[in-house]
Amino acid sequence: MKIDIVRLEIFKHLFASIPEEMGAALQRASFSPNIKERRDYSCALFDPQGEMIAQAAHIPVHLGAMPLSVQAAIGSMAFAEGDMAILNDPYQGGTHLPDITLIAPVFTGGQLAGFVANRAHHADVGGMAPGSMPVARELVQEGLILPPVKLFVAGELQTGVWDIILRNTRSPQERAGDLRAQIAANQRGVRRLADLVAAYGLPEVQHYAAALLDYTERLTRALIARLPDGSFEFADALDDDGLGNGPLPIRVRIDIHGDEAIVDFAGTASQAQGSVNAVYAITLSAVYYVFRCLVDSEVPNNTGSLRAIRVHAPEGSLVNARPPAPVVGGNVETSQRIVDVLLGALAQALPDHIPAASQGTMNNTLIGGWDPARGRAFTYYETVAGGVGARPTADGPSGLHSHMTNTLNTPAEAMEYAYPIQVLRYELRENTGGAGKHRGGDGLRRDLLLQTEATASLLSERRTRQPYGLAGGAPGAVGENVLIREGVEQPLPAKGQVHLRAGDVLSVRTPGGGGWG
């Protein structure tokens, strides 16, 4: 079959609209603010071999990870019509335990036409701390582990699996609501792909799915071909793993040969004792994200772009951890540092197109406990924005999410309605962005007053090592976590659990971005 370029472009829109509609269905039906309002989810469409054809991504860290989920599911079970698999095991297709992925096959006329999948961040999946983002020593402490397992068999909900999941979370009602939304999203995707096959026939759909992957590969190769050939190296480090081990270096070498790139993380630290380990899917997502930022925004999100890029991540290292290493921070913290080193290396190839380092952390803040006024348990989770790195053409924005996340904040007024927590300050940290011809963006300060005792989990970075500047620009200021108790400030660690008393103020102060020039 010949490729008609007009039809290819029309199929691009048709394929893209399937995960977009799944995402709209998921957002509409989901229960928790984390999915509904902060949009911490992604949806994608796959061919029968598990190659991703289209993804509606709200969260870049899911980019490279979704195909690995589908491949893990395909590799561990046989699918029939009406089946749906569920998983969160970071060592079998997942990334970290709060991200739960549901995968459904699509059959048309008895033939496998492809798969749809969606992944959403659940506010609690059990484990040693509310919010399931503790500083742990092994994966099993981080929460309930779901290897790929069937949640539906021939259209029937497997109630045993369902009950086990809900019994292992601190917020079963919310989990049930969100999982139902995920199921509905996949069912929507199954119907939509079946409609497409009904309209165009399976051969044509598959023909253009393959053509779209080739097309994305060509676009990516065209981008890489524009980069100068050569070897570009960069290194940076994580502050620590939360257990006193650090700094933990991450090294990368990017080799550009013609229209191919080899990304090699040799020399990166071994996997850590604490929860900062990234599984391979995270590393792949970070690579994917960085190259995605360099190409035009019209490029489809699919695995075709990865064909021109080879990624080597040493097994057992910080960027390709092996069991039973704990991994929850790999997704939210280490992923940001991987982006930092990739951009640092590419800045040598493309000095006029790469910004200085952004805050390089998500400043994960979790607070949980018992709310006496409302008579119920509570779990609050938020990522806090910070300074963005200065660009070769402009200052970096202040107080904005960068790179691997883009979730919304919780309004101060919503906080007071929902939790025994009062926001006292939410403001820019002046002059925390690095100086330069273009200044890095400023970080934020968010002060939370506890009205009851509670446990806080902090998972943050760039508390000792500053976000780098480029082209002579100064680095951004480091962030700080501070406990204000009875008016006295005490420093808190970058990572770890803290017991808070009523009247304590937890002050999260986020890093500035690096300066440029």
């Binding site: 370029i5 472009e9 029309i10 829109h13 609209s17 097309y215 060509r218 995605r292 924005p397």
Partner: protein, 657 residues
């Protein structure tokens, strides 16, 4: 005599209703962007003197002030610790994969975002008293800095406005134009409330000056202003709450689309307003949908507005080849300058050029032949692009039209399928200069069975101004348990009803024509989104049922929160009914302008072009055909059937021939 006047970028449209004869007439005057009232005066001068005259005006003054960043110099007063809320917004970046895309800069720079020590708790109780002594310094700052308008947004001011009121009265006494958040949007979520309040402060002085000037130029006229909620308001209110008029013109279009669709017997429509650089789409399910979380220029506006979704694809969108060898259309547009290649200045092929090349536009019939089109230039542009892609100029042009349609189909899916509606149940209602050429093919791509092109397609917004009621929206966040006894809820609702009544009375609406619709926003505790339901004693049961319907599940045992109370106060106006026309015996051939070759997906077909003005009621014809109006062109595809209905709307039934 009632006159609807809609100021647009290129034309100012007039629709005139004479109550004595029941007749509607319409015309256009070139807009005068430097002083929009000049075009209005020119248009009015064309009308015979009939007293009294009543004008309903849709204005782009507020919109343009925001989009061009030409509003007032504003200061914002915040609760201490929260001066940067306006900057931080919701902390998300506008584009995931663009390292150079910045969020819109806040309308108030940091040095004019002022803090004052005070704090009200969620239940409205006092936590920290207002530091009134500090106000002098804030007022002095604003005087020194030449601030024109002051916005005030304190935490939980909607629960207890005492502090905002105290600050407002001091600034008013000092001579400032003041917008206080508890008056503009008494609802929780401080960023969106601040954004809406600041926008109001930013556009109100501009709107006030404009409306003052207009009133001075039109002595003896009764003027009302169209709001974005589809209702109208007095100029006084429009100047005070100018943020409510930000999408005044497009709202008029939807009001008229709703009336036309209902009268024609096709109450469920997807509207499709395709212009040169962008396309507006909206869903009307009997009534136009209201959004309470719109944006203008990237900034949130949370007062109720008719829901309109805009995509950056239009007649001026440029076709180009990307690095992967693909054909793309947009998002770059040739705009008005240089415009499509055929206009004689641009070099790049656009969607309009494609339509010309395909024979769908005939140069001598375009805009009544008043606008010279260079068909050879359009062909050359597509030949160049086609050569790079290995396509003929015609194939390339056809592809560009199909790809533009794919973009717009996706926008229409966003407002229908993604909201749980099936396009197969809807009629595509097309208006705007370029809409008619694309509507039938677009409807086919969506599975919509028919297309409706209104008789007033070219002046639909101005018609909507004549069909609008006076509409006032009042709201209040209350955050009460869902099982609060109904009499207690009624007590909380009473002040909203009073305010709605008072606002209508202030507009001169007689009590007999007032309608007050009360509703409430509910959610399960822990959710961050609400469902809006009519305010009745069965509110709670209705909520569970509505949740089941909208999201597929409910939980009768779960705790429910009643978040907001709302009142929509409607003052019904005496509105014109759409005139019904009589059939005459003129055959379709009487309207024939000529036959020209038109390129379709399968073949090139000799196609009749008809003059819309000579197509009378009841006429039926089959495609392929092209209907030409002075301001727009409508394509009827091969296999489609067209009919002129009693309102002179053109109805195209797909695949019915």
């Amino acid at each position: 005599m009632r006159i609807g006047v809609d100021t647009g970028g290129t034309f100012t449209d007039f629709v005139v209703f004479d109550p004595a004869s029941g007749q509607l007439s319409s015309f256009k005057v070139r807009s005068t962007p430097h002083d929009p009232s000049a075009a209005i005066l020119q248009g009015l001068a064309r009308l015979q003197a009939h007293a009294p005259r009543h004008i309903v005006h849709g204005s782009t003054v507020a919109t343009n002030a925001v989009l061009e960043r030409k509003g007032a110099k504003v200061a914002l007063v915040n609760t201490a610790g929260f001066r940067d809320v306006l900057h931080i917004a919701r902390q998300e970046r506008p584009a995931l994969y663009d390292l150079f895309a910045d969020p819109p800069a806040p309308l108030v720079p940091r040095q004019h975002r002022l803090e004052i020590s005070e704090r009200i708790a969620a239940d409205g109780s006092l936590r920290t008293p207002l530091d009134e002594a500090a106000l002098d310094a804030l007022i002095a700052h604003c005087q020194r800095e030449g601030i024109e308008a002051v916005a005030i947004c304190l935490l939980f001011s909607f629960a207890n406005p005492a502090h905002e009121q105290a600050i407002a009265s001091r600034f008013v006494a000092a001579g400032f134009n003041v917008s206080a958040s508890h008056q503009i949007l008494p609802e929780f979520r401080e960023y969106e409330r601040a954004s809406t309040t600041v926008l109001n402060a930013y556009v109100s002085p501009v709107m006030s000056r404009y409306l003052g000037k207009l009133a001075a130029a039109l002595p003896g006229y009764h003027v009302q202003v169209m709001q974005s909620n589809g209702g109208m308001s007095s100029p006084h209110q429009a100047a005070q709450q100018a943020v409510r008029c930000i999408l005044s013109g497009p709202a008029g279009g939807l009001v008229a689309a709703q009336a036309v669709a209902n009268a024609a017997g096709h109450p469920r429509v997807l509207t499709f307003d395709m212009g040169g650089t962008s396309t507006d789409v909206a869903l009307i399910n009997g009534v136009a949908q209201v959004s309470r979380n719109s944006r203008i220029g990237g900034l949130p506006v949370h007062v109720p507005m008719l829901a309109i979704h805009t995509v950056g694809s239009g007649g001026g969108s440029i076709a180009w080849q990307d690095a992967g060898g693909g054909l793309q259309v947009g998002p770059h547009s040739a705009g008005a300058e240089p415009g499509p290649a055929a206009y004689g200045r641009g070099e790049l092929p656009t969607v309009t050029d494609a339509n010309l090349l395909l024979g769908r536009i005939q140069p001598h019939l375009f805009f009544g032949g008043q606008m010279a089109l260079d068909a050879e230039r359009a062909r050359a542009a597509f030949e160049q692009l086609g050569a790079r892609l290995g396509l003929s100029a015609e194939a390339c042009a056809l592809g560009a039209v199909q790809i533009a349609n794919a973009h717009m189909a996706r926008a229409l899916r966003v407002i229908s399928v993604e909201k749980g509606h099936d396009p197969r149940d809807f009629t595509l209602l097309a208006f705007g200069g370029a809409g008619g050429l694309h509507a039938a093919e677009l409807a086919r791509a969506l599975g919509a069975p028919r297309v409706l092109v209104p008789h007033y397609a070219a002046t639909l917004s101005a018609l909507g101004m004549l069909l609008a009621d006076v509409v006032k929206d009042v709201s209040q966040t209350v955050m009460l348990p869902g099982d609060t006894p109904f009499p207690q809820l009624e007590q909380r609702l009473a002040p909203l009803l009073e305010r709605g009544h008072a606002e209508l009375a202030a507009e001169g609406v007689p009590v007999a024509q007032m309608q007050l619709h009360a509703s409430a926003d509910l959610r399960y505790a822990g959710q961050s989104f609400e469902l809006n339901l009519p305010f009745t004693p069965q509110l709670l049961a209705d909520f569970h049922q509505a949740h089941q319907q909208a999201y597929g599940y409910h939980d009768a045992a779960a705790q429910v929160q009643l978040v907001n109370l709302r009142v929509q106060a409607v003052g019904q106006t005496q509105r014109p009914t759409l005139p019904v026309y009589e059939p005459d015996d003129a055959p379709v051939e009487a309207a024939l302008l000529g036959r020209y070759p038109v390129r379709f997906a399968d073949a090139q077909v000799e196609t009749p072009f008809y003059d819309a003005a000579r197509l009378s009621v009841g006429l039926q014809f089959t495609g392929p055909a092209v209907v030409v109006r002075p301001d727009t062109t409508i394509l009827v595809g091969p296999g489609d059937a067209a009919e002129v209905d009693a309102f002179l709307n053109l109805i195209i039934t797909l695949g019915a021939a």
